[in-house]
Amino acid sequence: MFYGLLILIFAVFIVRLFYVQVIKHEDYKQAALSGQLKQYSIPAERGIIEAYSGNSVVPIVLNEEVYTLFADPVYVADKKAVAEQLSKITGDKAKDYLAKMSKDTRYAVLAKKLDNKKKTAIEKLKFKGVGLRTESIRAYPQGDLAAQLLGFVNDGGQGTYGIEQFMDSQLAGTPGELKAITDIRGVPLVASKDNVLKDPVNGQKIRLTIEIGMQKKVEELLKEHLPTVNSKSGSAIVLDPNNGAIKAIANYPSYNPSRYFDVKDAALFTNPAVSSPLEVGSIMKTLTVATGLNSGAIKVNQTFYDPAQFTVDGYTIHDVAEDGGAQTRSISDILKFSLNSGATWIMMQLGGGQINEKARKLDYDYLTNHYFFGQKTGVEQGYEAPGVVPDPSEGFGLNIKYANMAFGQGLTVTPLQMAAAFAATINGGTYYQPHLVDDGKGAASKIKKQNIISPKISAQLRSLHENSVNTHYTSLIHPGYKIGGKTGTAQIAGSNGKYRTDVFNGTFIGYIGGDKPAYVIMIRINEPHVSYFAGAAAAAPLFKKISDMLIDNFSIPRAD
C-alpha cells in the first residue's frame, strides 16, 4: 500500500513536471530571461576641451579617473578593523565607516572621488566585501580659468552651463550597449546568443578659440580693476573682429569648476557676458551713427544745429551740462562728446526730419537684421539670452522709446551681441558669427551676413572712433596703434519702472589694431561708484589696461 502510494505520487510529479517543463516551458523561459537578462550602458568617454596657448594647443578640460569606495557589509568579516585600515588611507574617520557598514545594506558607499594612489593602497589590503568603482570626472589643469565659459558636468554625467551644456551631445558621445545574461549581481556570464554588445562611441574633442594666456590675463585685470572703481562685478570680452572668434571672456565673480557642488548661488554658473543682457548706454551710439551713415540719412562730414534738447512724445531729451549746450555740431562730435541730442537727431533723420514709423522701422531693421539684436547669437554657450528690441509699430510712446534706443536705453543686448555687432561695423561690414569653438573651417564659414554696412561706411566709422580717442579719450592712446572706442554710462531700470539716479553701469566698446582692427574689446562694469561718468571713469581704464596687455603680449601689426 505504501509503495503504491509512492508510485502514485511519483506519477503525479512526472505529470506536473511535464506540465511545467514541456507545456509551460516558454512561459518559464521568459520568466527566467526577465530576471537573468540585463541591459547595461557602457559609458562613452567624454571629449576633452582644449584651447590655444600661443601657437600650441593645450587641454583646458580633461577627464580623470576617480574611485568610489564601497563595502558589502555582509562579506566584511571584521568591520572595525576594516574601517580603521581604510580610514587610515582615505583620511576619513573610522567611526563614520563603521556606522555606514552597520546599516542594513548591501552597498555602503564609504568614500568618493579617491585618487589612484589611495585606490592602489586600498587594493593592496585585499579586504573581502570592499570594492572600488571607477568613475570619470572632469579635471581642470588650468584651475578655475574660464569657469563660466566652460560650465561643468554634473553628477548625472550631463554637461551644464557653458560649453559643456551647449556641446553636450558632441562631447558626450554615444554610450555603448551591453545586453547579457548575468548572475544575480549583474556580472555578465560567458557568451550567450542572447548577448548584444555595441561599443561606445567616445565624445568629440573640442578646441576652443580661447587664447589661454590672454584669458588668464584678462581675468586678472578685471579682478584687479573692479575694487579700484568700487564695483562688485563685471565682464570683459576680447573678440577677433576678422572672424568672430572669441579670444577671451572674463567675468567676475566666478567659481571653481572642480568644486562646482560647493557653489551656493547658482547665478554664479551662468556666463553674464552672454546670458545677462543690459541697457548698454552710449556705446550704442556707435551703431546709431552706423545706421545713419549706411542708410544715407546722414553724411559723415555733415554738420547740424544741435539745440541740446529735443521734446519727443512730451518727454524732453537733453544733453549733460558738460557738453556745452546748443551749438552747431559735427557727426564726429556726437560720438566724441556722446551727445544724446545728436543720437536723437540721427533717429529723426531716419524718419526724414522727425521720429516716426519710418524711422522706427528702419532702425528696427538695422538692429535686428544687421546687428542681430533681440536674438541669440548662437555662441556655443548654455543659457544664452536674446535680449529685447522693442517692436517698432506696436505699443505706446514708441517715438520716445526709439529716441532713447538711439543712445542705448530701452533695449537690452548682451555684451557679446554688442561686441559682435560693433565688430561688424568696423571690420568692413561683415557680421561674423561670434564663436568659441574652433572647428578649423576658417573665417569664411563664420560669415553670418555680409555688407551689413558698406566697406566705405565701415572705414568712415573707424576714422570717427579713432578720432574720438585721439582727440577726446586721449588716455587710451597707444602710439603706433590705431585705437577707437566709445564709453557708455548706462542708466539702470529700477524696480519701480523708473531709472535709478544713484547708480549706473559703465560700459566701453572699442578696438585696437594696425591698418585693420585686430581685437574688439567690450567692457562692462556693474554699478561702479566713481566720481565721474561710469563709462569714462570705470570702464575705459580697464579697456586701456587690456589693450596695453594685448599690445605688449600679442602680435598686433603696427599702424606706422
Binding site: 505504501f2 509503495y3 508510485i7 511545467v20 517543463q21 518559464y28 520568466a31 548572475d183 544575480i184
Partner: protein, 429 residues
C-alpha cells in the same frame, strides 16, 4: 585495513549465527549474492548529484568568493566517508547493528546537546556542529538511529505480543514523537527532518501491525505539534502561505519557490545543458543542497527529472523486493524504515521544487550536496545491501512470517481478532 582482512572473512559465519537469535528460520537462508541493483542505482543518483554540484561549483564559489572547487571537493570527501559507512554497515553483522542501538541513541542525545551549546546558527535555528571543517547535521544521525531503534523496539513488542499494549508500545512511541517534536522541530527548528522522522515512525509502526487507533493518536499529537510549530515561527508561516500560493509573492516569501519553478520550467524537454544553467548564479537559493532538483531540471530538462524520479522508483522497488523476501523481522523493519526515510525525503524535496509542496529545507537523498546526509544515507543503503544477502528466493507469505517468526507470541493476539502485522511487502494480498 589489510591487516584486518582475515578477521573480516569470519564475519559471514559469525553474522549468520548471530542472526539466528532473533529468527530461527532465517538460518535456512544462506548468505548469497547481494542485490547489485542497489549499488547501480545509488551510483547513478550520486553521479548525477556530483556532476551537477561540479557544474555549479564555480557559480556558487563566485558569489561567495571561495575556491571554485570548494563544493565539489567537500562533496567528494563526503562521498569517501559515505562509502566507508556503506562498507561498514554492509558487513557489520545484524546483531552487532542491533547492539549499536543504545550507543546510537546516546550519541544522538549527546550531539543534540552539543548543537545547542557549540552549534552554528542559521535562520535562527541550531542544526549543526562544526567537526573538523565539516558541518555535522545532527538530524541525519537521529534519522539513522531512529530506524535502528524502532526496528528493534517493534520486533521486541511483536515477539512479546505487546503490539496493542498502550503502556508498552504506544507510550514509548508517543514519547519518541514528543522528543522529536521538542528537540528536532522545536529546538533545532527543523520541521522537515521532524516530518521525515515521524513518517518513519508511522510507516514502521503501521507495518509492524500497530493498531490503527493508536496510529490515530500519534497522528493527532503530530497534528497538534505541527500546528503549534507553524504558528509559532514566522518563517514557517511564510512557507505555509507560500505553499498555498507559491507564486503569489515572488519577491519575498515565495522567492525560492518561484526561482525553483523558473529553473525547472526553463529547462524544457532536454534542458539547457550542463554548462548553460543560469539559475545557480545567485538566483536560486540553496542551489547545491535543497534546490538541486530544480538545477537538475534546468540543466537536463524533463528527460533528466524523469530519469531521477525513475531511479528513485527503481531503488524503492528493489528495496520493496528485499522487504518481501527478508525473513528476519528486524532486518525487514529496518529496510521499511529506510524506504520510508528516503522516499518521504525525496517526495518532500521534489514536491517543493515543482511547486506542489511547501519548502521544508531537506535534502534530496544521494543527489544533494551535504556531507552528513550523504554519509548516513549511504550507511543505511549499506545496511540494506547486507540484508539483501539474506533474502529468500521467492516472496514470503504473510502466513509463514507470522506463524514461523512471531508464532509463539503473536498467535494469541490474532485469535483475539487483533489486526495482523501489515508489511509493505505483503501489499499484493
Amino acid at each position: 585495513m589489510f591487516k584486518k582482512r582475515p578477521s573480516r572473512r569470519n564475519f559471514p559465519t559469525k553474522s549468520r549465527r548471530q542472526g539466528n537469535i532473533s529468527s530461527d528460520d532465517s538460518a535456512a537462508f544462506r548468505r548469497h549474492r547481494p542485490d547489485y541493483w542497489l549499488l547501480i542505482i545509488t551510483f547513478f543518483l550520486m553521479l548525477m548529484g556530483i556532476v551537477v554540484v561540479y557544474s555549479i561549483s564555480p557559480g556558487l564559489a563566485a558569489a561567495q568568493g571561495i575556491s571554485e572547487h570548494y563544493y565539489v571537493t567537500k562533496q567528494l570527501i563526503a562521498l569517501a566517508l559515505g562509502l566507508a559507512g556503506f562498507v561498514f554497515f554492509s558487513n557489520l553483522p545484524i546483531a552487532a547493528v542491533k547492539r549499536m542501538t543504545k550507543s546510537l541513541i546516546w550519541l544522538s542525545v549527546l550531539m543534540i546537546g552539543a548543537v545547542q551549546i557549540f552549534g552554528q546558527e542559521a535562520n535562527g535555528a541550531y542544526r549543526w556542529v562544526q567537526v573538523g571543517g565539516f558541518s555535522f547535521q545532527v538530524a541525519e544521525l537521529v534519522k539513522f538511529a531512529l530506524v535502528i531503534w524502532l526496528a528493534g523496539f517493534l520486533v521486541e513488542r511483536l515477539n512479546r505480543g505487546e503490539m496493542e499494549s498502550t503502556k508498552k508500545t504506544l507510550y514509548p512511541l508517543i514519547i519518541a514523537v514528543m522528543l522529536i517534536g521538542i528537540l528536532i522541530a522545536g529546538l533545532e527548528s527543523d520541521l522537515g527532518s521532524a516530518g521525515v522522522m515521524i513518517a518513519i515512525i508511522a510507516v514502521m509502526g503501521f507495518s509492524a501491525g500497530l493498531p490503527l487507533k493508536k496510529i490515530g493518536i500519534i497522528v493527532g499529537i503530530i497534528t497538534l505539534l505541527a500546528t503549534l510549530a507553524i504558528m509559532s515561527t514566522p518563517y514557517r508561516r511564510d512557507r505555509l502561505t507560500t505553499f498555498l500560493n507559491p507564486t503569489a509573492d515572488c519577491q519575498a516569501e515565495g522567492y525560492q519557490s518561484c526561482q525553483a519553478l523558473i529553473a525547472v520550467g526553463s529547462g524544457g524537454v532536454f534542458g539547457l545543458g550542463l554548462a548553460n544553467g543560469v539559475q545557480e548564479y545567485g538566483y536560486l537559493p540553496e542551489a547545491a543542497n535543497d534546490s538541486i532538483f530544480a538545477i537538475l531540471g534546468e540543466k537536463f530538462g524533463f528527460v533528466g527529472t524523469t530519469i531521477v524520479i525513475g531511479l528513485y522508483g527503481v531503488l524503492f522497488a528493489r528495496m520493496r523486493r528485499i522487504i518481501q523476501r527478508t525473513p528476519d523481522l528486524f532486518s525487514r523493519l529496518a529496510v521499511i524504515g529506510i524506504v520510508a526515510w528516503l522516499s518521504v525525503q525525496a517526495v518532500i524535496n521534489i514536491g517543493a521544487m515543482i511547486g506542489v509542496l511547501p519548502l521544508k529545507g531537506i535534502t534530496l537523498p544521494l543527489v544533494s550536496y551535504g556531507g552528513t546526509s550523504l554519509v548516513f544515507i549511504l550507511a543505511a543503503i549499506g545496511l540494506v545491501f547486507q540484508i539483501s544477502r539474506y533474502t529468500s528466493y521467492s516472496t514470503l507469505r504473510n502466513v509463514s512470517l507470522k506463524d514461523k517468526e512471531g508464532g509463539t507470541s503473536e498467535s494469541s493476539p490474532r485469535r483475539r481478532g487483533q489486526r495482523r502485522p501489515y508489511y509493505a511487502a505483503s501489499g499484493n494480498r
